[in-house]
């Protein structure tokens, strides 16, 4: 299947909504800073 999860084990992990929550917030923060730059 297309997409980032060519390894089924990884797909299962990411489907947990709160997965990598802090990383998502960090990436969002970087996006906001670059958007307001």
């Amino acid at each position: 299947p297309a997409g980032p999860f060519r390894y089924p084990r990884c797909r299962k992990e990411f489907q947990q909504a709160q997965h990598l929550r802090a990383c998502q917030q960090w990436l969002h923060k970087q996006a906001r800073q670059s958007g307001s730059g």
């Binding site: 980032p4 992990e13 990383c23 960090w26 990436l27 969002h28 958007g35």
Partner: protein, 92 residues
Amino acid sequence: FEDDMENPQRPPLLQQCCNELHQEEPLCVCPTLKGASKAVKQQVRQQGQMQGQQMQHVISRIYQTATHLPRVCNIPQVSVCPFQKTTPGPYY
């Protein structure tokens, strides 16, 4: 090992992110980071505050940041996630 992960200069949120990545299997670090990048991209788009080139710039920044997180966080066996401008690799 825990001591290696704690870096006093790191912002707390980045430290939390690094802790999360250290919980991942090395094989899954980049695929899950790619998933996280896509989720953030969708959040930014849904906020609808940006258009056109500014949106492209922001999306590029998201993937650039995600690309280097494994190295920033000293993830064993993973240095960068080739999300952008690289020859297609196992994460496309």
